[in-house]
Structures are given as C-alpha cells and as structure tokens.
C-alpha cells in the first residue's frame, strides 16, 4: 500500500506534480552559499584596471548567449579593448577630437576687411 497521500483519492494512478513550494531551509542554504561565493569572489577578484572609473559592463548583455567560460573571456577581452583607448572614430564620437564645423560659420564683416 502506498503511504503517500498524493497517490490516493483523485490522484491515484496518475502522474503527480511535485510540490511547487521550496522549503524555507533550502532558501536559507542557497542564501548562505551565495553569500559565501560572493565573499570569495570579492577577496580573489583582481583590482579592475581603472578602479575609480566604473566601466559599463558591456558583457552583461551577452550573458544569456554565452557559456560562463565565454563570458569570462569576453570580459577579459573587453578590458583589453578599453585599455587601448581607441579607435579614432569612437574618440571623435565621444567628443575627444573635434572636426572643423561644416558648413563653416559665416565670417564677420571685420574678418572680410
């Protein structure tokens, strides 16, 4: 005889869903492990290249596309890319280097003399 009450009554002989609620103790274990992992990463993670400057995490957008290993490589490569501080087109878009205004501003009457 089956002692599981779910296998009795209307559910008898049918596939039974697992209970959906997670016991509180599991939640606590997960929190504990996450906190421990976070702590370890904080201790072991190297100081970012530009500590005072909070770089946007461009790799975050691709977390769902790549595996964990690929995401780590991507972050390393992006750090390398930023360390080279280019290219020119990006620098110009960011306002680091100006181009002459086009069309040129009208000359004043003094300048024409």
């Amino acid at each position: 005889m089956n002692s599981d009450p779910r296998h009795e009554g209307p559910y008898e002989g049918k596939a039974v869903e697992e209970p959906t609620g997670i016991p509180k103790i599991v939640d606590e274990i997960v929190e504990h492990v996450e906190a421990a992992v976070e702590h370890v990463e904080h201790v072991l993670a190297p100081v970012p290249a530009d500590a005072s400057h909070q770089e946007p995490d461009e790799a975050e957008a691709f977390d769902s596309l790549f595996t964990r290993h690929q995401c780590e490589v991507l972050r390393d490569l992006l750090r390398l890319h930023r360390s080279l501080r280019g290219p020119q087109a990006l620098l110009e878009r960011a306002g680091h280097f100006t181009r002459p205004p086009f069309p040129p501003p009208p000359k004043t009457s003094d300048a024409r003399r």
């Binding site: 005072s52 490569l77 501080r85 620098l91």
Partner: protein, 423 residues
Amino acid sequence: MFLQLVTPPSTSPAAPPVTPAQNNVDSLWLYHPLQLSAIVETMWRNRGNAPSSPFVAWPADFTNLILQDTTFYAGYPFPNTGGVGLPEYQGLMPSADFIPPSQQPGIALISGNVPPTNWDHLIYAYLVENTRIFDIFAKVLEAYMFSERLETPSPATQQFLRNTEYLIYSDGLPTMVWTTASRLRRDEIANRMTWYYGMFGLDLAHAQQLSAQHPYEKPAAANRDFIPTFEAFASEVWQGIQNSKNTSGVNTTDDEAISTAARRIFDMMATRRLNGNLSREEFRAVAIMSWLHLAVMYDSPVVQDLKASASSPEMRLQKIAERVGMPAHIKTKPLLDLSQEFSFLLQSIETGAYNTPGAASLLYTLGTPIEQSAEIVIDQYSLATGRNLKASHVAVTERRTAPRLPPAPPARPNGRADRPAAA
C-alpha cells in the same frame, strides 16, 4: 602609446569626457623633453604585463620628481615683475586649461593607486608608418630647419617641432628604456624594417625607396607565414559572421579552423617575443607612430600652421605631404582605420583567448564589441591591401586534361567516294 596616455578611460559616447583628449594633447606638445622622457619611463613602468618583459625603467622617485615639479618655467619676466616664473604653457595653450604631465589620464593616480598602462601592438606602428607619416614629418622638420619656404611656425608649433626632433628623430637618452639605437644599430628606420619583417614577414610599401638610404637585414627567423595564416583566420571568422546573419541555409562556420589559425598566430608571435624579446623595440616604434598619429588626429597647431586643416587624419596628412612635395600613401585612410583595430585583434589573439574552439564564437556573434572589431579589420584589410577576405574559398587543383581520342578521319565531300590514287 601617447594615444593611451592622453585618452581618459571611458570612450563611451553616452558619457562626454570631462577633459577631452584633444586638450591633453595640446598640453603634451608643450612639455619639456625631460618631462616627456619621464612620461615615457612611467608608462613603461606601469605596464600591465610587466612579468613578461624584465627591463627596468627609471626609478619612480626620479620620474615623480620630474612629473610633479611645477617649476618648469619658460623664464622670468623682467624688469616689471621679476621673480615670478612664467609657466611653460604661458600663452601657448590654444584652448581650455593646461594639463600638467602628472595629470595625464594614462598615468594619473586613481584613488592613490597606479593604473596599469597598455599600448598598441607592433602592427599599429607598421600600418601607420606605411602611410609615410614618418618620412613626411621628417621633410617638414627639414623644411622648417633649412628654409623659410613654409611660414614661420607659431610658438606652440615650435614647441612641437622641438620635441618631435629631439625625441622622435633622435637617439634617446642611453638610460631610457625606449632607446634602441646604438653605434651597432645606428639606423632606426632600418631597425624598424627588420622588426616588421621578423614579426610579420612584411616590408613597408615604400621599402624599395627606403632601402637605398636605409639598407636593412632580413632576419633568417621571421614569421613569413603570418599573412597567409592571418588571411585564413580572418576568412574563417567572416564565414562565422556571415552565418550569424543568415537565417537559413548551410552553416559553414568552423570554430576548429578559427582556433587552429589563431593558435598558429599565437605561436608565431610568442616565439618572437620569448623572454620579453623585442618588447622595448615595439614600445619605441609604437610610441613614435602614435605621437605622429596624434598630430594629425585633429587640427593641431602644426596642422594649422601648415595650412593643412581638414576633416580627417588622412586628409590632413595628404595636405601636409603636398606642402613638402611628397605623396602620402593612397590607402592612408584604410591603413589608419585598420591600425588600432588590428592592434587590438592581434593582442587578443596573443592572450591565447582563441586557442581553443570554445571562445571562437566571440569573434562572430553579432553585436559583441569583439565581433564589431573583427568586422572592421576584415573590411579595412581588404580596402588597404586589395585582397578580399570575404571571397569564397577557391580550391586550386591541377588542370583537368581532356581524354585522348583517336584522330578524326579526314573530311570527305558529300556523295563522292575517295578514288584510289592512279598507279
């Protein structure tokens, strides 16, 4: 190298810079050569990959003393205000504020910490030098030194010319880490051509003209396979990019082929660089070219004095070249556009990131900065060299020979039989 010195960390278009790099460059031209030497040594000392190269820079106490010294005076004004030193930038800054050497973004301390520095790959120097920028500025210096053919340069341009002549076109101080010329290897241009050949198996486009004045030696150990291997790598990456854009059809992306080619390039470069070999030479070459590149990145004082204002670096260089009666390379635009992205791509290959197929997809997954960079390299490489990396693979095989047939019978006129020959 100087490009990384003057550019603040963030280049995000969303966040306009507090101090534009252009302002830092305007200040850079005005420094005393000793300050620039201290900057060079500091950039080297702060390099992020120090364990890979053992050469020691000037001591930090020494460079800090120079960099933080505020008494680099242009002199004292007499007789009215005697005793007060004129700062080195007195009346010379074209815009905004003068940035002292120690505050340049590449070496300024961040929360009291030393920031790690990085600079471009030797391929950057090769590509920029291919534009003939080095020869063009040599001619500009000659024109200013020996004639009055050009207009008298402004004080700011004169500062630039002084630094360019004594730091870029002269031998460095013997104690400096970037000094790579000596009595044994006097000719720096020839030295650079030797390094380019060693690393990439390539000569400069104008090598034939240079070799008469700068004979150089092609090293026996050189990466002669670099270009075929790189082209195979780039072609495979393009297959990946193409297939990422496709929604149907055969997927010919081959991660294994990408990583195999990447591994070969990695090994080639690592072999030339064993124990930090060529690191100082690369540093010097990249520093020289980035100095000259910066000079044409915007309408700098020398560009304005040469009446070479333009909307892009290649046009400025072209106009400067015309002023001194020289041609710039006709592919200057793709060469300059390629230089920084190619530098990043090769550095990323040298990290070993793509040595296994696992990370190859980063190169072609649409939208990642890595893919965008790879695509620029493939585009600009094709424009600069005329070799289309996007073309489909064509296998070269032996020409098929037609099967041998018996000789055709002689043609006979219709309705007439051959007559036997008369006896």
